[in-house]
């Protein structure tokens, strides 16, 4: 097997696989994909084949799942993936302007990555943070009531961390 994952990801996989009874390993497909993507940032054919083997499903069934969910990706994105919500609550609170600001300030379009591979942006649908609209999510970290000024600060922090 050409695929090698860290011991941490392997442990997460094993834990989720053990959580389902024999013949029901299919349920572990989505978590396994996410855990692996957290580490590698991209879902490859080898990865899907390995998951199909371990979760005892056909390769095509994993492919179906990856194709369906937009947060599972076959193309690499930035180290920091900035997701801006423009769904109704956020839009009413300035989400659309925030998204336009993000595009213009970073010179990036939807699902595009900066040349140094550090930042990518995506316009997303509702993240369930309507009470704190407009919201953005950087990888797994939420930021609430984001204004264009606050957005610039967040980007500066990211660039500082590198």
């Amino acid at each position: 097997m050409s695929l090698s994952l860290s011991a941490t990801t392997e442990a997460r996989w094993q834990k989720i696989l053990d959580a389902y009874p024999e013949g029901r390993k299919r349920s572990a497909v989505i978590p396994m994909l996410i855990f692996a993507q957290d580490e590698t940032g991209i879902i490859t054919r080898e990865l899907m084949e390995e998951i199909a083997r371990r979760a005892e499903v056909e390769y095509l069934q994993v492919e179906e799942v990856v194709g369906f969910y937009s947060m599972l990706r076959k193309q690499p994105l930035g180290k920091y993936h900035v997701q801006v919500c423009t769904n109704i609550s956020c839009m009413l609170a300035g989400g659309m302007e925030l998204w336009q600001h993000a595009c213009q300030s970073l010179h990036l379009g939807n699902k595009q990555t900066s040349k140094d591979g550090l930042i990518s942006i995506e316009e997303v649908e509702c993240m369930g943070a309507c009470s704190w609209a407009p919201a953005i999510e950087v990888n797994y970290d939420f930021h609430h009531h984001v204004t264009p000024a606050r957005f610039d600060e967040i980007i500066a922090e990211i660039k500082g961390k590198g």
């Binding site: 390769y59 095509l60 492919e63 369906f68």
Partner: protein, 699 residues
């Protein structure tokens, strides 16, 4: 306060203003169907899991604020259903408009045009105008395999193909990838299929999204005439409906679900008809002149053979007659009559592929012990011994699987290697050929607990082993039925019609000595070897130098060594009957004609006439009448046969007083992609990438 009430035995509801009653648990769409009210649907397909994907069957139900899909809604007490209300009519129209947003209007060139469900529904339910003004999303069509093509733009995502492949065949070769407008059907190897290549996905597709490579862009459905006949390949006896145009078979399917296979067909039934039009089909009699086979006229060839036969007969010479697993019952009956009465010889045999004789004998005095095709779907439990059903007996495998899906049939698989039945079998065991009977003892207890059992066995169980298997079955104390698996379209009919030296038609002992096939080939003093539709010299040599006469479709190894070759018509070119593996008699109907050929029955008749014999008229229907009168078990009901059904034959219920010849029984071990001598001449069977090889060939 807990009160229990008995579940209701009848449900009262109101449908379009009429009071109706139905059984509890009835799906709304099935209720309307029973009452003759059409509720249109794409994704709903009887026998497969419910999908509710297409939203065409939305109906109005009193207590629901939204329209409900009829395909997943169960009729409940007091339900008020409207299937033709303005809201429902509007919804249908909108759904069709929605489906047509990206569906190309290429009906004039689409294979499905004229028999397309989407076309029919738009015609019936409207949506003549579209409000969609943007550019349609389009993806180019692409091959999934040498037989299956996919046109994503035409696909309406009903999931029928995915379900027939997963649930029906157990192959899991198709899926749906991406989301929303980008969704499309995908094959299991990314861009190619690795599957049974059966083409069921093509036939079940309600639109022209999945098309057949052999048929696409060749003809329109209404230009063909359709001829229902029986598949020429394996012993399962599927009914296949040939679409014929200008004396050419364009396609085969069984969309009207008639026949014992309903819609089921494998690659051979659906695409394997192409041998019929192979360029190497013989179209003229051939005679050896100066050591070379030369084309000659029918009259010259018939005269030559007749005079040779008469000369050998009057000199008391030795004839060897070899029959076929593919020719019709009428031809087999006439051939044995020709040999026994006309030539006065009992040296008559064919390639035996399963021990039906011992089974019939071992079951003497017991009634209803031979299973029929319907039993595969109905039995509570089945035991498969020594056969990879999905490869070798695809209809039996499909029916067993369907039985499991619908009735939770308990299947036991005892085979030398992994088989598809393993995935749902209650017990599986890897047992080498010949060791099955000993291994069965470990399952005795479990099997005895089943309410009934159906035992299917391959050619590893033969001779005495059949008797011991029957002893085992009968000792379980439950009702047991049996199927002796045989290879080809009329392997069963060849035995039933007495194409062996020891048996007359109907399993009556011949009482005459006669040479078997290997003995004929090994006899240096054989004067004539007459081979009708078989190829015994493929891999075998003649000991003597007999005059060899061959009737065949192609120049087989035997034909190439012959002195006279008659070009025979194929199973798709003649009338007659064949008997399938479960003893059911079905009709062959002539769909096409290949110039220069004659059906074997006619060749036999003409040869008999030329010899001055009186063997009776050689019209298939007349010979069938003779068979019905003379062959025990074949007095079948004619209307069933005439209406394209399968009539059950019932072999003798007494002892078969002959010595079993297990050493002569050997299955050819064909798979889904091989069909004996026909394999070589089917381009489709040779074009698919799957090569399961010769599975389970006994040593």
């Amino acid at each position: 306060m807990a009160t229990t009430t008995a579940p209701p035995s009848v449900i009262n509801a109101k449908l379009n203003g009429q009071d109706i009653q139905t059984k509890p648990g009835t799906l709304l769409i099935n209720l309307t169907k029973e009452l003759g009210i059409e509720v249109p649907a794409f994704c709903y397909y009887e026998g497969f899991s419910l999908q509710a994907a297409c939203r065409m069957c939305l109906v109005q139900v009193n207590n629901s604020p939204k329209l409900l899909p009829g395909c997943t809604t169960i009729v409940t007490e007091g339900m008020v259903i409207e299937t033709e209300s303005p809201l429902v009519v509007e919804a249908r129209k909108s759904m069709l408009e929605f489906l047509l947003v990206n569906h190309p209007l290429d009906c004039p060139v689409c294979d499905k045009g004229g028999e397309c469900e989407l076309q029919d529904m738009v015609f019936k339910y409207g949506a003549g105008e579209s409000r969609f003004v943007d550019i349609k999303h389009h993806e180019p069509e692409r091959p999934f395999s040498p037989v299956v093509y996919y046109d994503p733009a035409r696909c309406i995502l009903c999931y029928r193909c995915v379900r027939v492949c997963d649930e029906g065949y157990g192959v899991n070769a198709l899926g749906v990838v991406n989301r929303g407008v980008l969704s499309e059907i995908a094959p299991n190897l990314g861009d190619q299929l690795n599957c049974d290549e059966c083409g069921a996905c093509i036939d079940i597709c309600p639109v022209g999204a999945l098309t057949s490579h052999t048929y696409r862009y060749k003809t329109r459905p209404w230009e063909m005439k359709h001829v229902g006949t029986t598949c020429a390949h394996c012993s399962n006896g599927c009914k296949t409906t040939l679409g014929v145009r200008n004396d050419e078979i364009m396609r085969a399917n069984n969309r009207d679900a008639s026949g014992l296979n309903e819609e089921f067909l494998c690659i051979k039934g659906r695409f394997g008809f192409d041998f019929n039009h192979h360029a190497e089909r013989l179209q003229s009699p051939l005679m050896r002149v100066d050591g070379e086979l030369q084309p000659v006229s029918w009259s010259k060839a018939l005269a030559a053979v007749a005079s040779k036969f008469n000369a050998v007969k009057s000199a008391g010479g030795k004839f060897g007659v070899v029959g076929s697993n593919h020719t019709s019952n009428e031809e087999n009956y006439y051939l044995q009559k020709f040999a026994r009465q006309g030539l006065g010889t009992n040296h008559l045999d064919h390639a035996r592929t399963g021990d039906v004789v011992t089974l019939v004998d071992a079951l003497s005095g017991k009634n209803g012990k031979l299973a029929v095709m319907a039993d595969l779907y109905q039995t509570k439990a089945a035991l498969v011994i020594g056969s990879d059903l999905a490869q070798q007996h695809p209809l039996l495998a499909y029916e067993l699987r369907r039985n499991f899906r619908h009735h939770q049939a308990r299947v036991y698989a005892m085979t030398p290697g992994p088989v598809r039945e393993d995935s749902y079998a209650v017990a599986k065991a890897r047992v080498p050929f010949g060791e099955e009977l000993a291994a069965l003892e470990s399952w005795r207890e479990a099997l005895a607990k089943e309410p009934e059992l159906l035992i299917l066995f391959g050619d590893s169980i033969k001779g005495d082993a059949v008797r011991r298997l029957v002893d085992f079955g009968e000792s379980l104390g439950i009702p047991v039925k049996y199927v002796a698996l045989v290879d080809y379209a009329n392997s069963r009919g060849a035995i039933d019609m007495g194409l062996v030296p020891e048996l007359l038609p109907g399993y009556a002992a011949s009482g005459q000595p006669g040479m078997t096939l290997p003995e004929m080939l090994a006899d240096p003093k054989l004067d004539v070897l007459w081979v009708v539709g078989a190829d015994p010299l493929a891999g075998a040599k003649l000991a003597g130098k007999p005059f060899v006469v061959v009737q065949d479709l192609f120049l087989t190894a035997t034909a190439a060594a012959a002195d006279v070759v008659f070009p025979a018509a194929s199973a798709y070119e003649k009338k007659g009957t064949v008997t399938n593996v479960t003893g059911e008699l079905q009709r062959l109907n002539a769909a096409v004609k290949t110039m220069g050929t004659k059906p074997d029955l006619e060749i036999l008749g003409l040869l008999g006439k030329e010899m001055g014999l009186d063997l009776g008229i050689w019209i298939a229907d007349a010979v069938l009448e003779e068979i019905r009168r003379n062959v025990r078990g074949y007095n079948v009901t004619m209307p069933i046969l005439a209406s394209g059904g399968a009539a059950l034959t019932s072999p003798v219920n007494g002892r078969v007083n002959v010595a079993s010849r297990p050493e002569l029984i050997r299955s050819a071990g064909d798979t889904l992609f091989t069909s004996g001598t026909l394999t070589k001449y089917s381009q489709v069977l040779n074009s698919v990438p799957e090569r399961p090889g010769q599975l389970y060939k006994p040593v």
